[in-house]
Each structure stands twice: as C-alpha cells, then as structure tokens.
C-alpha cells in the first residue's frame, strides 16, 4: 500500500514538467481581416500594444486589452522588421528602402512615409529581401540585404549601379528567356551581388547617412543588436554555408559568403575566383552553428531574453527562431579572448508552437509574441503568444568552455550525474550548397563531476579541438524533485580554446 502510494506520488510529480507546455502557455492571437497572415515584423510599443507588419504591406496595431486591430500604415513592400522611435514613429525596412512612418496629425494612422535610406541596389531578382532595422544605443540603424539567387536572373530595369565584375549584365536578363539563363546561371554564383550592397549589412544614422558595416552574407534574415550593443545576425545554409550560422558582427568584418566582397573598397577580383584558402583566412567564424535539419534550417530573428521572473530564462541570452523546426533556440554567449562563441540549446519544443517562427517581441508583462511566415517555403502563418506560467523548468543556464572540457551550470541541482553522449564535428567551407557533417567523432568524457549542490556539472575531455562544434547530449538529467532537464542537447561551437 505504502509502495503504491509512493509510486503514485512519484508519478504525479513526474507527470508535471515533462512537456514544455507545463511551463509555458502557447495561444493563437486573432488576426485582422483582409491581410496576408504572414508576419515580417513585430514589436511591442511603449503603450503595450503590438505593432505587426503583414506581408500584404500593412502595419496594424493590436491592442491586447480590447483584442482589436487598427491600421497604422499600408501599401508597404514586404516590410521585414519594425521598431518604435521615441516620438512614437515606427521605422520599417521595406524591399526598397528604410522608412520612417509618422503620425503627424495624431489620428492614429501614419500620414508621413519618410525615406530614411534607399542607398542600395535592386535588380528585380526575387531573392533580394531586406531585413531590419535593429538599432544600437546611439540610435544608429542596422539593416541586412540578401544576395540575389541564381534561381532567376534580373529584370531589365534595376536600381544600380551594376558592377562589372563577373558575368555581364546582359547575360543576367530574365527577359532573355529561360534557355539563356540555364546556360549562364552557373557563371554568376549560386547567390550573387551585382548592385550595391547585396549581401552586406548597412549602418544607417538616424538622419539616414549609410555606410557598409559588414560583408559576406547570403540570406541574413535575423538581425539584432543586444543590450550590450553587440550585433547578431543569423544566415541560411546554402552555398558557402555548410550549415546555418549565428554571427557576432563587428565593423568591417567578412562573414564568409564571398559575393558581396565586390563592395569592399578597391576590390577588383571576381569573388568566385578567389581561392577558398584566402577566403577562409579572411572570414570571421560563426559564434554558433545550427546543424541543418536538427536545430534549424533557416534561422530567424534573435532577441534578448528578459528577466527570469517574467519568462523563466536567464537574462543575457539570445532567443532565436527557425522556419522549419517546431522549437525555438537559446544561445548562451561566451567570450574567449576576443572571440565570441557559445552554446545553442533547443527551447519550447512543441507541436503547438509549430514552425515558421520568424519575428519576436516581448511585451512589458513578459509575453512573447511570435510572428510567423513562409513565403511559400516551409513555415507557417499567424501570431502565437507564449506566456510563462511561473515555475521555471530545469534548465542549463550556463555552458562554459574549460581548457580541458566544459562546465555546465543548472538553475537547480541535479539529482545525480546524468549520462553524457558527446561528439564533435565541423562543416566544409565551400561553394557547393550545404555540407555533410565532416570529421564527426564521438568524444568519451574522461571524467564527469557534479558539485555538491548538484548545480555544476564539470565534464573533462581528453582534448579540445578548435573550429569544432561539440554536441553534448545530457541524458536523463532530473532535479531532486524529478523534473527533467528541458533542452538536453547543448551544442557549443569551439572557435577558440580557453588559454592555459
């Protein structure tokens, strides 16, 4: 009898906390009529309302109190981000320009569509998405520009100037027909940048003066300045991207995709003809790597985590979405010397969350608003709101590289040392699309130690290899009450070893 009671009690305790939804509520937000339900931008306004960009060109504002929508702006071309300024203006990145939307007559609807910056090119190619803005503490905007795709050529009328490095403009014309393109598409690169500054990140002052901030991007959908003024960008697996990366971006840096090198001062060579070794020596490695098909296929916007009281996650992390996976991803940054790297951990793994999680904003109460999109690729539509129920799941709250292993910190003590399965691998840096995992090796932990309070797990490894992604599967970890570890695969990208 006693045994039965005990086991029943144990079952009750354990049945709570095995699903993410025991900790977080996921609900769908009603949408306004007459819009394309795909979301390109979402931000919480200071008054608590939620401004949302729809792919059909509207910015509508949702009042969580009255659950009603009101139109703020319309006729925009694929706005893929929005932020609020001090005076209540909204700034959004459209296909062709960064625009400030101002309601000068205070009737709740924007009447002034002010061009902040249109100082970049357009070829009419379908892949020239423009993302942002995000903003630093000085008020500068950052936007990221896709390279064009050789899935198609260019239109006759472009916003240039066209740069004459590589295949000639005439041969790119879609109007010359499919046969012409099939013959020529291989000569321009899988993703190409022939008008300014495709594949670059632009820095734009409040008044609209722009400069190229960084080079080497392919499809940088996720752009975010964190509260420490660090710029983070996610990009997509493809050519020159063995798997999708997360970059910490600094001024003048080159982030691996060569097409945009033509916009560097005094650059004259065809990027396709630069030896890989030379590109390798120029590029900044990713801070985080999302294994394709496992963690992300097309990662999206990163945002800062907020107070653990409001959302259950530690502050100082990034939360990132993905188009294909039904989960979000935490990034725990760690700086080793001057190199930014860190660990990616799955979060909120749930069919109810669904995929296509594109844009994010925390409201003042800690609710996470998620805008979804697909643009006819994998993804979803609509808006989900995630609310923390108040009890923190058992989480890895720190993953730190040691000179001979890793130190994993938890928010609560573990009951015992969990089973560990560790491997490491890398990807090829190549022109070809994607990459298999290469140099994949199982790593046997030489030693695993748990601190007395159970909160610090130290894993000693025989050696640490730089430029390898370490996958640490923590199996069967539970706290003293039996709640399982939520997010039990830690993927730490070792760019640089910790010094002696």
């Amino acid at each position: 009898m006693n045994r039965l009671l005990l086991s029943l009690l144990a079952t009750t305790a354990l049945s709570f906390g095995k699903d993410w939804q025991d900790y977080y509520q996921i609900e769908s937000v009603p949408l306004p009529a007459g819009v394309d339900n795909q979301i390109g931008g979402i931000t919480t306004l200071r008054d608590g309302r939620i401004a949302t960009c729809f792919n059909s060109g509207e910015i509508q504002i949702f009042s969580p109190e009255t659950k009603t929508w009101s139109l703020f702006a319309q006729g925009l071309s694929l706005p893929l981000g929005v932020i609020e300024e001090e005076d209540g203006s909204l700034v959004t990145m459209q296909w062709a320009e960064l625009t400030r939307l101002r309601d000068t007559d205070k009737d709740g609807v924007a009447d002034l569509y002010e061009t902040v910056c249109n100082d970049f090119g357009l070829t009419g190619n379908y892949h020239e998405f423009a993302y942002g803005p995000t903003r630093d503490s000085k008020g500068n905007f950052y936007v990221s520009l896709n390279a064009a795709s050789n899935g198609e050529g260019i239109q006759d009328r472009i916003r240039g100037p066209w740069i004459d490095i590589g295949l000639d403009r005439e041969s790119h014309l879609a109007s010359k027909g499919e046969d012409n393109w099939q013959k020529n598409k291989g000569k321009t690169g899988r993703m190409y940048s022939r008008v300014p500054y495709r594949g670059c990140v632009l820095k734009i002052t409040r008044k609209g003066r722009s400069s190229v901030f960084a080079y080497g991007f392919r499809s940088p959908d996720g752009i975010h300045v964190d509260k420490n003024d660090r710029l983070w960008i996610t990009d997509n697996q493809g050519d020159w991207r063995g798997t999708s990366p997360l970059y910490h971006v600094t001024e003048g840096g080159f982030y691996g995709h060569p097409a945009s090198l033509v916009w560097k001062k005094n650059w004259t060579r065809d990027p396709l003809k630069v030896p890989v070794e030379e590109l390798e020596s120029m590029r900044t490695p990713a801070a985080g790597l999302f294994p394709q098909g496992e963690l992300a296929n097309s990662p999206t916007q990163p945002i800062d985590t907020i107070s653990p009281k409001l959302f259950g996650l530690p502050e100082g992390e990034l939360l990132i979405g993905d188009m294909n996976q039904k989960h979000l991803i935490r990034f725990l940054p760690e700086k080793i010397g001057d190199v930014m790297q860190g660990a990616l951990i799955p979060f909120l793994v749930s069919p109810d969350l669904g995929m296509g999680n594109h844009r994010f904003s925390f409201d003042q109460k800690g609710g996470l608003w998620i805008g979804k999109t697909h643009i006819k690729w994998a993804g979803d539509e609509g808006i989900k709101k995630v609310t923390f129920k108040g009890q923190q799941p058992l989480l890895a709250t720190g993953v730190s590289l040691l000179k001979d292993g890793f130190k994993v910190t938890f928010n609560r003590g573990l009951k015992e040392i969990p089973q560990l399965e560790i491997s490491r691998h890398t990807y090829r840096y190549q022109k070809k699309y994607g990459s298999p995992k290469v140099d994949l090796k199982k790593v046997k932990a030489a030693q695993a130690l748990l601190s007395d309070d159970g909160k610090v797990l130290t894993v000693k490894l025989p050696e640490i290899t730089e430029r390898r992604l370490y996958t640490i599967k923590v199996k069967g970890a539970v706290d003293t009450e039996g709640h399982p570890l939520m997010g039990d695969v830690l993927r730490y990208n070792v760019v640089k070893k910790r010094g002696e």
């Binding site: 144990a10 007459g34 296909w95 569509y113 994998a378 994607g434």
Partner: protein, 300 residues
C-alpha cells in the same frame, strides 16, 4: 521503485532520441525545407515525387538530385544535392516512398490558402516594382479608375493607365498592368534651369543631386517629396475634377530661378498647366510661378 524512477525519467527525454525512419534524417537535413508531404511549397510534394520515382527508379532519383534540371517552369530549380552521399540519397528515396504510401495529393491543394487582395479603399498608394520604371516605384490607384506609376529613383511621374488593380507588389517581377498606359512621359530629365527672361526653350540641366525623401498622404492622396540640390519639390497626385483626369499639384520651395519641366510625352491624353507657358510638352515657369502650379492630364 528504483526501476520505476528511471523508466519514468527516460520517457520525457526521448524526443531527440526517437529512432528515425530510414532516410528520415538526411531528408530533414536536405529536403524538408522545400518538399512537403502532399502539397506544393517550393518544390513538388513527396506524393508527386513518389509517383515520378517509384521503387525501381532509385537510380534516376539520385541522378536527378545530383544534377537537377528544370521540370516545372513555374518552380525554382532545385540546387544540386551532389554533396549528399549516394547512400543518403537512396535513403531519402526510400523515406519518400515509405511516408507517401497510401497518401494522395489533391490537385492544386496548397498548404496555405492564397492571399486574396481585399477591396481597398481608394485612393491607394502601394510600393512596387512596375514595368518601364525602377524596381522602387509607387503605384497610385485613384478612385476614378485611373492609376499612376511614380518612380522613386528618378523622382518622377512615369505614366498613367486605366485600371484599379491594387495588388501591384510581387517579389517575382514587375507588376503586370491591367491596360497599357495612355500617358507616358518620355524626357530623360524632368527639371531644368531656364533663363529667366527667355520663354523660347533655352534651358540647361541642373547638376545637383536628386534625392527621394518620401511621401505624405493628404486625404489619402500621395504628395511625393524630393530634393534637387537645395530645391525642394512636392508633387501631389490626385483624381481631377474632370472625368478621366489626373492632377499633379507641385509645390516647389527654395527656387530662385525660372524652371523648365520637360513634360514630353506620348499616348492619348492632353496635358495642361495652370501656370507658365506649355509648348511642345515643355513647361517654362518663372521662379514665382514654379512655387505652386498644377498639371492636369485628361485621357482622350
């Protein structure tokens, strides 16, 4: 009791350790972004692929994946999957056949219903790539059934056409117009400097930088704003009082000289101005006249 504990503890952790179907992992890694089970997303559905490549056509499947061509003209060509090991490509084929067993594709069934443009309140202003204009253009759809293309790169009115189509933006190509324009401006440069006392058409270019600044909605009509050096130009587009007419109301500030607007055009329309001298499509205005004037285009 101890055993029960460990059994219960392992259950919730199984998500990432579930035994995948053969070929499932390489499929997820390389294909899942574009190929859905029974609907067309970017590429054909798995059901369609299983039909094209039945069990005895695995070799053809892997050959195509390594060097794909273009079978569907309305779809993007797949990138080569030559980096995927041969065994994985075979596995992907097996996986496709296993998950599509017994599943049918409804013809034309899309994963998401196509967005249907709502009836917009006119006038409606929409950013779009438009034919014979820059990819950074604006369509102005007026309430009288006429529409205008305004180019933010050249900072000028390009043409007017009949129709009230409002879904002009597409990432794929310039908007297709319902009708060919009935009024098209043809001059390479719109605004020139004119000698103040000369109305005979002697003029010269202004070499200042042309910069688009945005637009203001005035009763839902757009007033485009751009600068030419220190000259500030605002051009409001609206339906005119006359049937089938479009007006362009200019407000020009910081102008200290006579201006010539080269409004040369083709098509079937008449152009008039309430100020200055309009001759052979060229409008000469004194500095004073240039401050505020209105052009009217009436469709013939």
């Amino acid at each position: 009791m101890k055993h029960l504990w460990s059994f219960l503890l392992i259950l919730p952790l199984a998500a990432e350790d579930k035994v995948p179907l053969p070929g499932e992992q390489p499929f997820k890694t390389n294909c899942a972004a574009c190929h859905m089970l029974a609907s067309v997303v970017v590429g054909p559905s798995l059901v369609a692929l299983a039909k094209t490549y039945p069990k005895d056509k695995q070799e053809e499947f892997t050959a195509w994946a390594k060097t794909p061509g273009k079978k569907n003209t309305n779809m993007i060509q797949m990138p080569s999957m030559a980096h995927v090991p041969e065994a994985d490509l075979g596995g992907i084929h097996t996986y496709i056949l296993s998950v599509t067993d017994g599943i049918k594709e409804k013809p034309g069934k899309a994963l998401y219903p196509k967005f249907k443009e709502p009836k917009r309140q006119l006038p409606y202003v929409v950013r779009a790539s438009m034919p014979d204009s820059s990819p950074a253009s604006v369509g102005v759809v007026l309430e009288n059934g006429l529409s205008v293309c305004w180019d933010t790169e050249a900072c000028r009115f390009r043409y007017a056409y009949v129709g009230n189509k409002t879904n002009l933006f597409s990432i794929w190509r310039p908007a297709s117009l319902p009708k060919k324009p009935y009024f098209i401006e043809t001059a390479d440069v719109l605004i020139h400097s004119a000698t103040s006392d000369d109305k005979l058409g002697i003029f010269f270019p202004i070499t200042a930088k042309l910069q688009f600044r945005g637009y203001r909605l005035v009763d839902k009509n757009p007033e485009f704003y751009y600068t030419l050096g220190s000259i500030e130009i605002r051009e409001l587009i609206a339906a005119g009082k006359d049937p089938e007419s479009v007006i362009r109301r200019f407000t020009v500030t910081n102008v200290d000289r006579s201006l010539l607007f080269d409004l040369s055009h083709k098509g079937k329309a008449t152009l008039s101005s309430d100020k200055g001298i309009l001759k052979d499509g060229r409008l000469t205005l004194t500095a004073e006249e240039a401050k505020f004037f209105t052009l009217t285009i009436i469709k013939k």
